[in-house]
Amino acid sequence: EDQVTQSPEALRLQEGESSSLNCSYTVSGLRGLFWYRQDPGKGPEFLFTLYSAGEEKEKERLKATLTKKESFLHITAPKPEDSATYLCAVLPRGKGSARQLTFGSGTQLTVLP
């Protein structure tokens, strides 16, 4: 069974204080790992896709990296508007067409001004 574990559950940072969020996964063959941002009462907003170990993607203050067992979302000099829940999800390899994403519980990030 595919499993995704995110840590920490919650993180409070001062504006400008860089940190990393962790996503550990167990999957029977990884097709892709996805990071999403979710604001309260809203749908997940796509951030990054990572397909293979060693891959890195960047967008503004965010950088996502991938190893064979985990992914990190690095936040550099965060601003209050980066406050949200960050979700990690894995897409397994397998037969068939459309595949289901398995999500972690998320890390709730609060950036204080």
Binding site: G41, G43, F46, Q100
Partner: protein
């Protein structure tokens, strides 16, 4: 920028009633999904749909649930006889291919009383 839309944003229904949740996926996407998120819990996969048929479904997606693509733009989720435990946010998503990122709609909050 194209986006997934969902209606209604909030639906209140009585236990035992039928509800239909509606989604308009991104126009050039071929794969469609429904997920749900019970308050404070993980986003959970319900069903995926491709080429006018169900590709995968989870254990949650029992005989009370059905999906349909009634025309070239809409994608619906029907719950035949709602239960209290069906109360959740329901998200529609779509993707261009089976292995690309899934884009989520804003969700429908379903409240069963």
């Amino acid at each position: 920028e194209p986006e997934v839309t969902q209606t209604p944003s909030h639906q209140v229904t009585q236990m035992g009633q039928e509800v239909i949740l509606r989604c308009v996926p991104i126009s050039n996407h071929l794969y469609f999904y429904w997920y749900r998120q019970i308050l404070g819990q993980k986003v959970e996969f319900l069903v995926s749909f491709y080429n006018n048929e169900i590709s995968e479904k989870s254990e949650i997606f029992d005989d009370q649930f059905s999906v349909e693509r009634p025309d070239g733009s809409n994608f619906t989720l029907k719950i035949r006889s709602t239960k209290l435990e069906d109360s959740a946010m329901y998200f529609c998503a779509s993707s261009r291919t089976a292995h690309y990122e899934q884009y989520f709609g804003p969700g429908t909050r379903l409240t069963v009383t």
